[in-house]
Amino acid sequence: MNLAYKYMSRSTVLLLMLCLGVGLKTSLAQQSYQSDYEIKHQFKVKYDSLSQELDSVDNVTEAEDILDGIRGLEENYKDHRQLLDKVLYPETFTGRMKKIEKRSHSIISKLRVIKTQNTKLETLNQKLATYDQHFESLVSRSDSLRQAIDKSNQSEKKLSGMVRSYRRSLEKRDQFIMSVIDSLFATYGNMSNRALQDLQNKKARQINNGNALNMVKSIAQSNIEFLNSNPTLSTQDYLRMYVVQKNFSSMWDKVGPKLIAVYSGNQNKEDVKEEIDKDLAEWQTKVANYTWKSLNKSFDEENINVSEFGDSQGFYNSLNGYLTTAIKQSKENGGEQAQKQYQKFASFWNNIVKTKWAEYMAKGEILDYTKIASIDQKVDQWSEVSKPESHLMAILLGLSVLANLALGVVLIRAKSSSSENNGNRKVS
């Protein structure tokens, strides 16, 4: 058994050596017939080909395949390092391979970023596609509700129910616009120029559904149409719409050029921008007009005679001026009338302006919290000076004087009666 094993081992080793010998001879012979020029030429062709592939690669998987190819090329030609060092002078074989490998790593990492951004974009496009339908249904629902309210001969109770639904529907529509703004910001806000260029070159033409530019146009135009229909809404509704418009314009200023770059396709980019800028400006003018009118009207209805205003600074100046005058008048005249005027303003200011409008006013930069605090101070000041003069102190003072007098009389009397008693005792 041992002998057989030994014999087998020897024969196996001999066979292996023979194979190695033949292999070595073949390899040497092949090396002998190889032209250095061909080695140089083939290396250059393969290297240039990989380099060109890197220039045009547009996805991570392909880029990783190219990197494998680069590593393979290095492995295959490492035996010719000396020759290649000479022919590549002043570069070296190792230097060249490192250079292309570094470039491929850089491209892979850039493509990974683009891939992430593409995924975000795909999600946005899906969202926009559903948003598109959702927005239309919200707008049509709001319109039909408004028409129903206009034509309604129903009972007051039923009508107020419809008005409530109408306002809820408008709120939903505005919430929807805010979510579009968030989505567009999240996708395009930090998008790199390379990713943008990639989208511009490849993706934009493929996007039919979920075109963000169409969505922007549609939202602006729908709001203009809505405002053109002379809606009768509460001041709170107008303030909310004012804030939505402001945020929408701000979003457009920041990501508008990117959206145009990606989605405008063959259209003239300047024309597209001009058209949307025009729509947004019209929307802004209309919503601002309604908001200021509604605010002025709300103060009028409460018989708070603030001077008319048409912008944020005007509104603050008007309130400030009104309070300054009211405080001065209260100081000079006072009285019950001034007290009533104060109470009316304070109630409107605290229960309506601060409770229902302040959030939108701050977001829309109509009246920021510093200015609200400044108005609050004036209202407090007015409160102090408008208080009716109190007679209680005078009465108490009078009572106190009387009490003292009475006490003094009692004490004097008590003293005199005591002296009389002492005299009588001495006489007796």
Binding site: S32, Y33, Q34
Partner: protein
């Protein structure tokens, strides 16, 4: 006068000799390695001239074509292969040539140093490799290799 005559007789020839020697001495750099790492492959133009832009060398291949074919009516040579060895000799051949021409560069010319006969049938797919101290010729048509220097084939066909 006598002194002058004596000085002239004894010193002048020495001075003249020194002056002549100084003028005729030239600066020589020795142990120069002219070896070109990889051969150059060139296609002749319509006039049979090859242009090696990397080495800054232009010459007509027609004298070599005539030596091979005794015909210069048209350019029949394709892919001229050329390599310079350590000593500075150019080894030139082309597809189908029977010989390798060892040319020595001189002022404005390449002079034949040695015509090395390789094959009666012609070298079908020749290629030169620099294999210090020799130049290796391979014929990929028949897997033959030859070790050459300016004097001829040094070592016969390794494969045979």
């Amino acid at each position: 006068m006598y002194m002058l005559q004596k000085a002239v007789k004894s010193g002048l020839p020495v001075l003249i000799l020194l002056a002549v020697t100084a003028c005729s001495s030239s600066l020589v750099i020795q142990r120069v390695n002219f070896a070109q790492p990889v051969e150059t492959v060139l296609n002749p133009d319509s006039k049979g001239v090859v242009h090696d832009r990397s080495q800054g060398l232009d010459f007509s291949i027609m004298p070599l074509q005539y030596a091979e074919t005794q015909d210069t009516s048209s350019v029949t040579t394709e892919k001229v292969r050329m390599i310079r060895d350590k000593e500075g000799y150019y080894f030139i051949t082309a597809n189908g040539y029977k010989n390798v021409y060892v040319m020595k560069p001189q002022a404005g010319e390449l002079k034949l140093q040695k015509k090395i006969h390789v094959s009666d049938d012609g070298i079908m797919h020749p290629a030169f490799n620099q294999r210090d101290p020799n130049v290796q010729l391979i014929d990929r048509g028949n897997n033959a290799t030859y070790s050459l220097n300016e004097n001829g084939i040094k070592k016969e066909d390794l494969s045979s």
